[in-house]
Amino acid sequence: MPIETNTILMCAGGACISAGEESCLDALKRSIEKYGLGDVTRIVETGCMGMCDAGPLMVIYPEGVFYQKLEAKDMETIVSEHLLKGRVVEAKLLESPGKEVKITSPFDEHPFFTRQVKIATRNMGVIDPLSIEEYIAHDGYFALTKVLTEMSPEQVVEVLKKSGLRGRGGAGFPTGLKWELTRKVPGKEKFVLCNADEGDPGAFMDRSILEGDPHTILEAMAIAGYAVGANKGYIYIRAEYPLAIERLREGIRQAKEMGLFGENILGSGFSFDLEIRMGAGAFVCGEETALIESVEGKRGQPRVKPPFPAEVGLWGKPTLNNNVETYANIPSIILKGAEWFSRIGTEKSKGTKVFCLAGKIQNTGLVEVPMGITLKEMVYDIGGGIPGNKEFKAVQTGGPSGGCIPKEHLDTSIDYESLRELGTMMGSGGMIFMDEETCMVDVAKYFLEFSVDESCGKCNPCREGTRVMYEILQRITSGEGTMEDLDTLENLGKMIMDTSLCGLGQSAPQPVISTLRYFREEYEAHIREGKCPAKVCRPLIRYEVIPENCVGCTACARVCPVNAISGAVKKVHEIDPEICTRCGSCISVCRFGAIHIVSP
């Protein structure tokens, strides 16, 4: 009988798939077939490994060699060299910054991985998401078994309360308390919801968890059902996540077949079933009452709170709603205990948080770190610093509902309270990094535009107020703002936050308020001097030729889409600012550094 000698893990997270994982996999299978290694090599497609920037990724065991940025044409070499002859293909190895290429497993040595503590993402990139057996091998469904055979619902709630776990969807409400409230409301029929309506720009941790480890959500929701007294659950997930939906469906099918889900789980008498509801991609449906409306088949608009969903929720019944990442923590807490979990993190923010690193950062991707890690460690150790030797300027946390943190606060500990003090929030965990070339007024405008688009229109302050704020920002970035506009922005912002019906409106002005707090001088430069210091806002910048550098190669004139550049061959060229649309095509083709951007 042939003995398996190699296991190959291919990352089949969304990012790696779009980077070409499928064609690599086909090529890999063909090469393995060609060299007759089919019997001794096992290929496993896993969930996201986190280092999306370097995808498609692949790890070959037993050596634990990590290959990056793969293309279909590399597979033949990897099979013939690595699998057949045992020689590592150095050209495709994952690089460690500042160090020589690593032959051993970067999981143990690369700073991107070593600083991480994986609880919610423990199985991602390690197991095959479509194999319930592999999930069981990693202690899957043991927490559910423990709960159903050894614990009373009250005990489950007690463990969660002691653990200190707080909602990972953004607001940070204590999860144990939420479960207790729902449990205590009398009612024969209750519901458990999972909020997988991930809408923040730049956040993709919920999708990655669902794609990489769907069973953990099923297990946690069944535990929640047992604890609060519900037999029916819904996962509300956006239709743009087809892969997550497909893997969840398959997960539910497998778990039911094994008797770990559905009717009479483990013969305990407890039944729990689940339906998947797809959302059409409205941001507001991430708000729990709007989500409930949408599950009921109505238009997704928030309800007035109180009453809270714990009392009057889905179809008027007591309803528990948690976010994907919150659920993903629960099986480990049940198995390892509240004390274990509460030892990780800070005094008030226990455990870990998954962050999505995006924007101007070296290692974009997905990381799970203990609460209380500093922003500096996040940027320079895990994130690998800012690309192109640029300087870190700020990071936006909490997406369009959050605010920015400037470089003066790089030493901030990342936890719910510290972020709130700085005028931002944890949010779902998106982190968008910005460097010196980012205009903060423009960023605020971008996020506000998102909220204006996504406002459901039910309440006045959000519908009208955010639009007025957006118009003011448009004026400022065109050089037509006044100093009074800044006061109006602040007052209006506060009013919208105080009077809006739901979390969307209550937080939508946050990016503006926060950039006004830390980067007021940038706003003032736009207004007083008609200048955009970061040289981003188009009405306030000009492209100019530096005569000393221009050799008259005509490259810029040929690429200009509006013929704004004139000049003869070997003569200094000139850009007509009246015609120029500031598209930047010229600067990207100039090989002599002869074009620069000026803001008067």
């Binding site: 065991y61 057996e133 091998a137 094994m258």
Partner: protein, 125 residues
């Protein structure tokens, strides 16, 4: 598929699957490298390799990874097996037939004593 009814049954599934996934654990104590160049294979390295894997499985030794390597230049003493244990000098054995594999596993890996009559080289080549 039969329905799982108890913790014991769940445990059984776990144990069966864990075995098949053991290759994915890179945090092993040591490595056993079997030279599988043309010279090694001609001298019977494939049998040595198989014997090594099954002997480890029989003895339920899980903290060693069995790897293939290329020819290390010791063609006249093939099949060779290099034993690398964390923080110890690597040991190269020569003329390792399936029968000798049993001795290496028992004496070196279990008891921690070098099998001196098979020893070719101590330390890096």
């Amino acid at each position: 598929m039969a329905k799982v009814k108890s913790l014991e049954e769940l445990m059984k599934i776990k144990e069966q699957t864990v075995k098949g996934m053991s290759l994915r654990d890179s945090s092993k104590k040591g490595k056993l490298l079997v030279a599988m160049g043309t010279c090694g294979i001609a001298a019977g390295a494939k049998d040595t390799y198989q014997a090594l894997v099954s002997e480890l499985a029989d003895k339920n030794i899980q903290d060693f990874a069995v790897l293939q390597s290329g020819c290390m230049g010791l063609c006249d003493v093939e099949p060779t097996v290099k034993v690398e244990i964390e923080s110890q000098e690597p040991i190269v054995y020569g003329h390792v037939t399936p029968a000798q594999v049993k001795r290496i596993v028992q004496q070196h890996l279990v008891e921690g004593k070098v099998v001196s009559d098979l020893l070719i080289k101590k330390g890096e080549l």
